[in-house]
């Protein structure tokens, strides 16, 4: 059947199961948008800036496991996607970005709104395409979705000249892809798995470091089986949070620069580290030469290029986490590591990293803890980057699989609101809380208009300290309190919410926190709470830059007067 290029794209998107597209139109993609009325099953959400489209597609993909789709016109539309594409690339998120391009005869002539977006996105996409004839569109869309979601997921960009949308060609949707250069290894090598099982069965102080790969692979059950059978304690990376229930007796929280002191001590003392679906990011390992000094290291990852990249690895297994763990679990002998687990529990008692001290003022960690309590830990939390992110990672306990969505690799401030929007669109029945700082929130604040227009009921908590707080903390600790360019004014966020047409509250005192969160929960639509928190509150524990994990700084003791708070976790709340 003959179709226009634009129809072929819509037809292909429908066949790939796409339900929603985040985007902004413009001259070059106008012919594509013009066909949308013929495809009512494709919901288009008009964002207010293309960065928001990319982050929303990213959030949607992380929450649902499906491919997120964003769309923009040529030139500035395309370049505005770049931050969001890079963000998805670093966190291995399946996103397909479709951009319009100037018509073929104008390419390379600096035409109006022309930019070489395939050139620009070369290092931040898994793959990208410039489509030069309409007939190849079905194959390219098919390949793009396959590449985005298979193997190690990532963003794929398709750049389509304006006249290709209009050209007609025969539509044949291929049933499979033919990519001789792309064959991801899914099954782990049996000999390596055997070697791994032997090491686990013989270890005295084994420790699992679980990352986002567990979530991508949906290997929650397999991981739990391994942990319980071999009685191996678990710590996670930031993006690994919620791959394993955090209130499990063998869960010891997050490791890394702002990880739990006891998690970092566990890495330091372990004799075997089983790294699963993580990539030894520098924020997780701290000083590489001081990382897990007594341990053999097993690294399970789908990407062979991650093996041995940052940290020496004794046994690598390239494969899909779920498939590898299924095989591995067959070879694991039931074991107990009573002394080792006791040791970790003692450390957790001696170094209680999640204690919230009593204070006059409103502490950010107190707010996050209350969100946890009111939502009973059932919400999906989407964070910005900085202190709000670290606080949300530490003081909310994630027992529900895949319930923390955060920008890890790129560390993109401004991710929170558009990503939360995408999460809510993908999971309309879930409660979605966007935990933001006042700095990051102002970077993508324009998407408030989108959530109102599209009736996306995101709950927003702004932890407002009037600073770019994480950087201020570094200035306090390492730059002698010279607060250069970190003090930050902002608008009255409640009035902003009102101006956009939805309700909000400002909270200054501790006793107002719970009622405000409850009010937000009861509200049908979006709701914003502006929490006026202690301006110079720091995030602890902290491993200073350049130090090893074991050299962790904890909250100064004099202030650690403990708040009598309902214990949600066995030991971390002393």
């Amino acid at each position: 059947m003959k179709m226009t290029g634009a129809q072929m794209i819509c037809e292909s998107l429908v066949r790939e199961g796409v339900e929603v597209i985040f985007g902004i139109l413009g001259g070059a993609v106008l012919p594509l948008y013009d066909t949308f009325p013929q495809y009512p099953q494709l919901r288009h959400i008009l964002v207010r800036h293309e960065q928001g489209a990319a982050h929303a597609a990213d959030g949607y993909a992380r929450a649902t496991g499906k491919v997120g789709v964003c769309m923009a016109t040529s030139g500035p539309g395309a370049t505005n996607l770049v931050t969001g594409i890079a963000n998805a690339h670093l966190d291995s998120v399946p996103v397909v970005a479709i951009t319009g391009q100037v018509a073929r005869p104008f390419i390379g002539k600096d035409a109006f709104q022309e930019v070489d977006i395939t050139g620009i996105t070369l290092p931040i996409t898994k793959h990208n395409y410039l489509v030069l004839d309409a007939a190849s569109l079905p194959r390219i869309v098919k390949e793009a979705f396959y590449l985005a979601k298979s193997g190690r997921p990532g963003p794929v960009l398709i750049d389509i000249p304006r006249d290709v949308f209009i050209d007609q060609a025969e539509f044949h949707y291929p049933s499979k892809v033919d990519l001789p250069g792309y064959k991801p290894t899914l099954q782990g090598h049996p000999a390596q798995i055997k070697k791994t099982a032997k090491l686990i069965n013989e270890a005295q102080r084994p420790l699992i470091i679980a990352g986002r790969g567990v979530i991508i692979s949906r290997a929650f059950t397999e991981l739990k089986q391994l942990v319980e059978k071999a009685q191996v304690p678990v710590v996670t990376t930031l993006l690994g949070i919620s791959c394993f229930p955090e209130s499990h007796v063998l869960s010891y929280g997050m490791l890394g620069m702002h990880g739990m002191a006891y998690a970092n001590m566990a890495v330091d003392a372990a004799d075997l580290v089983i790294a699963i679906g993580m990539r030894f990011d520098d924020r997780a390992t701290a000083k590489v030469s001081g990382f897990a000094p007594h341990a053999n290291i097993i690294h399970i990852d789908i990407d062979p290029a991650e093996i041995g990249k940052n940290v020496r690895v004794d046994v690598p297994i390239v494969g899909d986490v779920k498939a590898v763990l299924q095989e591995l679990n067959k070879l694991i002998i039931s074991a107990e590591h009573i002394d080792w687990v006791q040791q970790l529990d003692d450390w957790r008692k001696e170094h209680p990293s999640t204690v919230i001290r009593d204070s006059e003022g409103l502490l950010p960690q107190f707010v996050i803890r209350k969100i946890y309590e009111v939502t009973q830990g059932k919400a999906i939390i989407v964070t910005g980057v900085g202190q709000n992110q670290r606080g949300a990672a530490q003081h909310y306990w994630y027992n529900k699989p895949n319930s923390l969505i955060s920008s890890g690799g790129l560390g993109t401030m401004g991710f929170e609101l558009p990503a939360a929007m995408g999460v809510k669109v993908g999971c309309p029945n879930e409660t979605v809380w966007c935990i933001a700082g006042d700095g990051g929130f102002q970077m993508t604040i324009q998407e408030l208009a989108t959530i109102v227009q599209e009736k996306i009921a995101v709950k927003i908590a702004i932890l407002n300290n009037g600073y770019l707080g994480m950087v201020r903390q570094w200035q306090e600790m390492f730059y002698k309190k010279r607060y250069v360019a970190t003090p930050l004014s902002g608008p009255d966020f409640v009035k902003i919410a009102d101006a956009y047409g939805f309700p909000g509250l400002r909270v200054k005192h501790k006793e107002e926190v719970v009622p405000a969160i409850q009010k937000a929960t009861e509200e049908q639509g979006p709701f914003l709470i502006d929490f006026a928190i202690e301006p110079e509150e720091n995030v602890y524990p902290m491993v200073p830059p350049g130090a090893a994990l074991a050299e962790v700084l904890e909250e100064p003791k004099k202030e650690a007067e403990v708040l009598s708070d309902s214990a949600k976790l066995p030991v971390s709340n002393i």
Partner: protein
């Protein structure tokens, strides 16, 4: 970390932008590509590429893995340590007068090179061999005055029966093996 010269051969799809994708991975790490040679392979739509690059072995291995991840790269290996045949071709235009021409021809003969163009004030020589041979010829001819030289860069393949990069679909098993040895 010691820098060594690496010879990387790759089988790639014959598509626009492939060279850019590959070169970009070296550029990003600050590697200078010494030479790169590309031409059609024995299979339609696939090209074979030889890249020579200096760098620490661990870093080059990291780049090789990233090259392998590129969708348009079918296969890539670092054959530096293998028993290989490596050649390049150079065209050298040398100043030649009636008094020096015969001496130049003698040198050319010794090197089993060819004279491919003669003009009143110059000769152009075509020479094939490894870099050392071309460098020696270049040094001998320098005294006459080199007007221009152009070199193809190295092309290479391993010796023996099996090709260094045979055209065949990689089985997952072969990949897993490769990854084990490549650590």
């Amino acid at each position: 970390m010691a820098t060594t010269k690496h010879t990387i051969v790759a089988l790639v799809e014959d598509k626009p932008g492939v060279l850019n994708r590959m070169a970009s991975l070296f550029r990003r790490r600050g590697f200078n590509i010494e030479s790169i040679a590309v031409g059609h392979s024995e299979v339609p739509h696939l090209s074979r590429m030889t890249i020579v690059v200096g760098g620490a072995t661990t870093m080059v291995e990291q780049v090789r893995k990233h090259l392998d991840k590129l969708v348009d790269v079918v296969k890539v290996s670092d054959i530096t340590g293998d028993d290989m045949i490596a050649r390049e071709l150079a065209l050298i235009k040398v100043k030649a007068t009636s008094s020096t021409r015969s001496e130049i021809i003698q040198i050319v003969d010794i090197f089993r090179a060819n004279i491919v163009d003669v003009a009143s004030d110059s000769v152009t020589i075509e020479v094939t061999g490894d870099e050392e041979k071309i460098n020696s010829l270049f040094n001998l001819l320098r005294g006459f005055g080199i007007k221009e030289i152009t070199r193809t860069g190295r092309i290479a393949m391993t010796r023996g029966g099996s090709g260094s990069l045979p055209v065949q679909k990689k089985s997952p098993k072969a990949r897993a093996k490769g990854q084990k040895t490549s650590r």
